[in-house]
């Protein structure tokens, strides 16, 4: 089945109020071309679930986020994401802050079609008080231990970015870490994968072992060819993080004029124009 599609077609499927999971980790292999398409859309009141990076900062800056479910938001080389910080400090969205591992278990519960998974991480910390809807469950065995019943993080949509994909929805990571992209796909009703390059299925093993084809076509509903689609986050080995661009992005948090200029040049434009603007710097 040919599942090739475009950012615009994906956005047309999304609705305000949806729960959207975003793959990658921090400022690494984020599906930024899809995030940029959300910025250009009328979508709002989103619940975003992610190991956050500039995807979160941008969605917050645009006021798209009603609730954020996260363990952290970081630009890695810039530890604190300044746009996310501003939105948090303004109380602009509901902060469903978790331990990083709890986020994994919430996705896993959804992936396994379970209502919750018992988890010890979080007990004793303020994760419990900032998520007052979380309940505990007592072990039915002799130990009787009380654990957090981490609710399944069921996603309406998962967005991930891979190095290579084929038209049928198999996806390959060529960098060091698969992150939790597979879990995001398993936890979601609709799954969209952008990639640096669409290749023939028989060509996957020219660039990586069979183990690097970590996403299979049962896990994906749509494939978008988006060269530079993770920019400015890193997408190794295709490209490292664009540190100069990331610095420029981060600096706009302190300077409204710089933000307006950045927005006009890079975000109020199509993806093709974005990629051109990046190249012509």
């Amino acid at each position: 089945m040919d599942k090739r599609t475009t950012e615009s077609e994906v956005i047309a499927e999304l609705k305000s109020g949806m729960t959207i999971g975003i793959g990658g980790w921090g400022s690494r292999r984020k599906p930024m071309s899809l995030v940029r398409a959300i910025l250009r859309s009328d979508l709002k009141d989103l619940t975003v679930v992610t190991y956050g990076g500039p995807d979160v900062g941008l969605l917050c800056k645009y006021g798209k986020v009603k609730k954020l479910i996260y363990g952290f938001v970081s630009l890695d080389s810039i530890p604190l994401e300044p746009h996310f910080r501003q939105a948090r400090q303004a109380g602009a969205f509901q902060a469903g802050e978790l331990d990083e591992g709890m986020l994994q278990w919430g996705l896993r519960a959804a992936a396994h079609r379970l209502p919750f998974l018992p988890v010890r991480a979080g007990l004793g910390s303020d994760v419990v008080s900032v998520n007052p809807d979380f309940k505990t469950v007592r072990s039915p065995y002799d130990d009787g231990e009380e654990l957090i019943a981490m609710p399944a993080l069921e996603l309406d949509v998962a967005l991930i970015h891979m190095n290579r994909a084929d038209a049928s929805g198999n996806g390959q990571f060529l960098g060091p870490d698969p992150y939790f992209d597979d879990l995001f796909c398993h936890a979601a009703k609709r799954r969209f994968m952008s990639c640096e390059k669409i290749v023939e299925t028989q060509d996957f093993q020219k660039e990586g072992s069979v183990h690097t084809v970590s996403i299979n076509r049962l896990m994906v509903d749509g494939v978008i060819e988006a060269p530079g689609g993770a920019h400015f986050t890193e997408c190794l080995p295709d490209y490292p993080r664009d540190e100069a661009f990331q610095k420029e992005y981060a600096a706009t948090a302190k300077d409204p004029d710089a933000w307006e200029a950045f927005k006009a040049r890079y975000l109020d434009v199509s993806e093709a124009e974005y990629q051109e603007a990046v190249k012509s710097r």
């Binding site: 331990d99 709890m102 991480a121 060091p176």
Partner: protein, 255 residues
Amino acid sequence: MSDATRAEICAVAIAECFRDDGETLMSAFGTTATVGGRLAKLTFAPDLFMTDGTATAAETVPALGGEHAPDVVKGAWMPFRLFFDNVVWTTNRHAMMMASQIDRFGNQNFACIGPHEKPKAQLLGMRGAPGNTIYHRNSYFVPNHTAKVFVEKVDVVSGVGYDRAAELGPATARHHDIHRVVSNRGVFDFETPDHSMRLISVHPGVSVEDVIENTGFELAHDDVVPETRMPTDEELGLIRDFLDPKGLINKEIPS
């Protein structure tokens, strides 16, 4: 030996935290803590396991910033999922985390300052601190020991301290273990009857009074508090000639 800087003394105090850990994952955050952890592996704790900071184990110790140098021997694959599965959930790790605030019982905050609903300053977020503190041994490194960091009560608890762990009961708290705190002023543990923080050594040039004045809660200490040990010549050589030739730790902790 006598010309050791405060940062070098701290690095050795950090290394000492890992001395008896055997074969476990050593994670350290912050420049001086990174140097200290690696110093332990290079000297008295060779079985420590560490990563290159990305997704692979480093089986030989890299210099600061040299994690991907070609001569670093890479071992097993360690992506984030294995980090969780292999060392956090199995308790086989000793992390030295930072603390923006820490209290008398070792509750730690690096999530945010002010109320969580609308913080005055958003910091890192919870990250892995809740899970780390309930699952495995942790220590803390504080390069700027003041009464604003060592506080009576932290604004938000990201890392769980001894009083909260005790409330969870022995089953849940069985892996909870805050080993030590190393600051730019001294070294601390929680080996008191109520697991409140205790000053166990002051760095050379620091008085017990200095530490107490810069601590926002009642700090336990013996009548005589020893000085933190000085680095050996071998340790100073390893820090200056190999681990940190640019002396970056001295920027994190000025003498």
